[in-house]
Amino acid sequence: MTEFLTGLFLVVGAAFMVVAALGLVRMPDLPMRLHATTKAGVLGAGLMMVGVAVYFGDGGVTTRAVAVIGFLLLTAPVAAHAIGRAGYFVGVPLWEHSKTDELKGRYDEKNHTLASPPEMQDAKQDDDVPRA
């Protein structure tokens, strides 16, 4: 039973990794590639570490496997956010069929800040708050 469960977790995790790699190759632009690799990739690696924990059934091994999964779940979204943000700022082109780009024109190339959306900027001017 343990071996069956371990094999199942390993194969399903590896299959998710293949899905992530397929998405990385086939998706048309950077944000979509990030979308494919971060989610499917972390799920695949996490399932494989669950397989390790199930196979050994030992306290120390399980703790370390859970630590690996925790680190993956904590770091992958942050890294994806950082790369996506950097990619947008350095001008990586979006897919030609993309419908909306809500950040367009709101990024200041000089001081690396994003302006607020237009409706929030209006509210700010109405309040007459001095800008820092």
């Binding site: 790699a21 990385l24 397989g51 950097a86």
Partner: protein, 91 residues
């Protein structure tokens, strides 16, 4: 049966690794390559998981843990380097 599962997961991971290197080769921009490198790091974690199970050498899990953290550091470092560099056209 269990041996087949080990071999199958190794084969699937190898296929994913080839696809990841294909994107690393194609690019077309540096952020795309960073994404490919990050996927390759998580693929290596998968390989370590399979190796730990097939060989029974549990200390290698620590390697997977360190690899997860260094891959994160590398990605954040690349992101900062890109963002400080400003606009670029490297198609």
């Amino acid at each position: 049966m269990f041996d087949i599962a080990i071999i199958a997961s190794n084969a699937l991971l190898s296929l994913a690794l080839v696809l990841g290197f294909w994107r690393l080769y194609l690019g077309p921009t540096l952020p795309d390559r960073v994404v490919a490198l990050e996927l390759i790091a998580s693929l290596t974690i998968g390989f370590i998981a399979v190796y730990v199970i097939s060989s029974g050498r549990t200390p290698f899990i620590d390697v997977a843990m360190v690899l997860a953290l260094t891959a994160f550091l590398a990605a954040v470092g690349f992101a900062r380097y890109l963002e400080k560099g400003g606009h670029r056209d490297d198609d």
